[in-house]
């Protein structure tokens, strides 16, 4: 249902968060507009009430950003399946609002992926790691997850990366191979992907405001973990950023607005 709705919108209109038509693009007839208005409004309302059981699987949920992601999903009444690194963390994740929490196990992941509508993948890429540092991301696990996601038919895949992930492109030493390899693997896959490269993470409370760009000028720009999490959660259904790589840091635009207007 929501995919139909989102699909139609792309041709005809964009909408504000209240489901009101802002402008009409292309030769959409009156009937069509009305139909979409109805569909769209009912979808938005359903999501609000928790009626549409959008299921989101969060891989790496136990991290600093992951905790916020789970909480934000719960606040939006989206059903979160948290995948943690070990058993000890699952209790906390349930407490934060995850519908289920499991320990990461590739063998058992397929049914969970099949039951999910979207994946949020939190890598361990750290923008504070400068060129002298080597890769800290488990490429194998990302590659596996992407394969599994394709196999299980989950369509939407949001990955957290870092603003400095692309530095391996220009690194003459060739010692920090492929910090952006995960991004490339995701782009090559048959998924509706969004890679969100975030700035340096801080523990400040979220301001709810960001700047969004294809390439952020200030490579040391900061973003609170809470805001980073909100960007990831809000990205799930923002069609403007489907199949693209964007960079986010603290700024002046409300998160939802920034993502919708990108």
């Amino acid at each position: 249902m929501q995919w139909l709705c989102l699909g139609l919108q792309s041709h005809v209109m964009s909408y504000s968060e209240n489901g009101i038509i802002l402008y009409i693009r292309g030769p959409g007839g009156c009937f069509f507009v009305c139909l979409i208005l109805v569909l769209n409004k009912s979808y938005v309302e359903k999501v609000r009430k928790g009626g549409v059981s959008m299921k989101v699987i969060v891989i790496g949920a136990n991290g600093d950003v992951g905790e916020h992601v789970i909480r934000k999903l719960a606040e939006r009444k989206l059903e979160a399946l948290a995948v943690a690194a070990n058993e000890n963390q699952t209790e906390d994740l349930i407490k934060l609002g995850a519908a289920h929490a499991i320990v990461y196990d590739e063998q058992k992941l397929i049914p969970h992926l099949q039951a999910s509508d979207a994946v949020i993948y939190l890598t361990g890429v750290n923008p504070k790691k400068h060129s002298s540092k080597t890769v800290m991301v488990d490429h194998q696990s990302i590659s596996d997850i992407i394969q599994l996601a394709q196999k299980s038919g989950v369509r939407r895949f949001v990955m957290m990366s870092a603003v400095k992930a692309e530095e391996s492109d220009t690194d003459p030493s060739r010692k920090i191979a492929a910090k952006d390899l995960p991004e490339d693997m995701l782009k090559a896959a048959n998924l509706v992907y969004t890679v969100i490269r975030i700035g340096q993470l801080t523990d400040k409370p979220g301001s709810g405001k960001i700047t969004l760009s294809e390439k952020i000028h200030d490579r040391d720009a900061e973003i609170p973990r809470e805001d980073a999490a909100e960007v990831l959660v809000e990205s799930i259904d923002k069609e403007a950023i489907f199949n693209s790589t964007i960079e986010a840091a603290s700024g002046n635009t409300a998160i939802r607005e920034a993502l919708s207007q990108f």
């Binding site: 000890n88 963390q89 400040k204 409370p205 609170p224 973990r225």
Partner: protein, 535 residues
């Protein structure tokens, strides 16, 4: 008048100022000192003798800032003081180039394991973040330190629900469940000013998982300002729960027990500072104090040093039973351990009757905020290290340890000291002076004078002007969170997954010669001493 003339006049005036005025002053002081009859030094050495009094006056400050080394000040060294301040201000406890503890001296040490717990394996609850503010240093120069304060979502380091410490679990309609092991010890409104109490209340309320003990001076609106969990203390003077004639008022008690923030009550049999009754000068009993404490305005209060309501363990336990059944909340008692026989007979009666307190606060007897007499603070009651294990062991011997929680207090202001107390048998730890430092105390040691320069232990409005509640309450919050974080660090090192698991086996005592002995040895020594007393 020519220029020369005016210059000459100016010169004369100059000489008059520079020479005559000091000479006249000197003669005045000389004569005054010589004639006074109070100080012999001044009579024999007029004027120059003043140096003695001036340096004596500023001595504590000079020692603290210049002459004492970082580890030797009392009651707290410069180092200990800074540990508290930095934890509050920067939420930071890192040091460089090693410890400055004197390892040749005797002391307690925590036994670490070969294979500590990983961060991921710790049973900690960080699901609720705390919105606080911390300082960040931008630049540190000789004459100025540039720093700014910024917001931070901090991990609160709560215990998991299943590890929470519960007071009155089986005895009360409303047990007190606390998810942290550190709280604020008894400090009354009156001994601390309203601003300090408000800052503490807000900071502790913000941090959560902790508690605030009102002290015996009654429950004020300042204690309630930040809605922290409150343990209301009741002293022999019954402040806040008394009738005008000084008897216990069940009606007032019921009112207090219905306040949601009030989670438990504590009968103060003794405390470190005072193994005596309180005394409040009539002029200090303002209208506000009178309203809070339920006493008459302007009338001097002399409190008894024991409750009139009971005189021995059976009558006290009956009183506790009644408090519990009317209030529905846990009731504990605060003691200073001295004579083990009296303690033992009480504990044996606990077993016999099945009654007793829900918690026992064991105070080290070192004296805290309270203005007290030197002889009581210095030499009455056992220090906490000796008292704690004895109480714990005695409760175990009589098989009642599971019915009662032990709260320890006495200079336990850093995570390592708290962990050692937990291992010795404490379930929870109370801190008073650490929290005073976190709201600005500079250890001027003038709590009894109402002239606290930091505006903490004073009700003087002008002095309190220095204390900004909004800034200081974050330091209180950071300090308590930082202590809990430190406790988790120590627990991990000891190979346990949360600090509530500390046991005797996790610590040892090392003597001057490097010999290491378990805590049980302390117990044997305490028992031997008691036996000798009896024979």
């Amino acid at each position: 008048m020519s220029l020369t003339d005016s210059l000459v006049i100016a010169l004369f005036i100059f000489i008059a100022l520079v020479i005559f005025v000091p000479v006249i002053l000197f003669i005045y002081w000389y004569v005054k000192d010589d004639r006074q009859k109070q100080h012999s030094i001044l009579r024999n050495f007029p004027v120059i003798g003043k140096v003695r009094y001036i340096t004596e006056k500023v001595g504590p400050e000079l020692r603290q800032y210049l002459f004492n080394n970082d580890t030797e000040g009392k009651p707290f060294s410069r180092k200990e003081y800074q540990d508290v301040v930095k934890a509050g201000k920067y939420k930071e406890r890192l040091i460089g180039f090693g410890s400055i503890r004197d390892f040749d001296e005797e002391g307690f040490y925590i036994r670490n394991t070969l294979f500590p717990k990983l961060v991921d394996e710790m049973k900690v609850d960080n699901t609720q973040k705390v919105k606080t503010r911390v300082y960040k240093v931008d630049g540190d120069n000789l004459f100025s330190r540039k720093e700014h304060s910024e917001e931070k979502l901090a991990d609160p380091y709560y215990l998991r629900d299943e590890d929470a410490v519960v007071l009155g679990e089986k005895t009360c309609r409303q047990p007190f469940r606390v998810k942290g092991l550190v709280g604020q010890s008894a400090m009354s409104y009156g001994s601390l000013g309203e601003k300090a109490i408000t800052a503490l209340s807000k900071g502790l309320g913000l941090a959560g998982g902790t508690w605030m003990n009102t002290g015996e001076g009654g429950l004020s609106q300042y204690h309630l300002a930040g809605s922290p969990d409150i343990i209301m203390q009741i002293g022999p003077d019954m402040f806040g729960v008394r009738k005008p004639n000084g008897e216990f008022s069940w009606e007032e008690f019921k009112k207090k027990s219905e306040i949601p923030e009030v989670k438990a009550f504590e009968l103060k049999l003794a405390q470190g500072a005072k193994t005596r009754g309180g005394h409040v000068e009539g002029e200090k009993v303002t209208e506000e104090i009178a309203r809070i404490r339920l006493v008459e305005v302007g009338k001097t209060i002399n409190s008894p040093n024991r409750f009139y309501e009971f005189e021995d363990a059976p009558s006290m336990f009956d009183f506790i039973e009644e408090l519990r059944s009317i209030g529905g909340k846990p009731v504990g008692m605060k003691i200073v351990v001295g004579d083990l026989d009296a303690l033992e007979s009480m504990i044996s009666y606990m077993k016999e009757s099945g009654k007793g307190p829900d918690f026992i606060t064991v105070d080290g007897g070192e004296g805290g905020t309270g203005a007290t007499y030197q002889e009581l603070a210095d030499s009455v009651g056992l220090p906490i290290q000796s008292a704690l294990t004895v109480v714990d062991e005695m409760l175990r011997e009589y098989g009642v340890r599971d019915r009662v929680k032990i709260i320890a207090s006495g200079k336990l202001i850093t995570p390592d000291k708290i962990a050692i107390a937990l291992a010795m048998g404490a379930d929870l730890v109370n801190i008073a002076r650490g929290f005073m430092i976190s709201v600005g105390c500079i250890m001027a040691q003038v709590c009894h004078t109402n002239h606290c320069p930091a505006g903490v232990a004073t009700t003087d409005k002008k002095l309190q002007d220095g204390l900004i509640v909004d800034e200081k309450h974050y330091r209180v919050c950071n300090y308590v969170i930082s202590l809990r974080e430190g406790l988790f660090n120590l627990a991990a090192a000891a190979g346990i997954d949360n600090p509530a698991q500390f046991e005797r086996k996790h610590i040892v005592h090392k003597d001057k010669f490097g010999r290491v002995s378990p805590i049980e040895d302390l117990l044997h020594a305490a028992k031997r001493a008691q036996l000798q007393k009896e024979s």
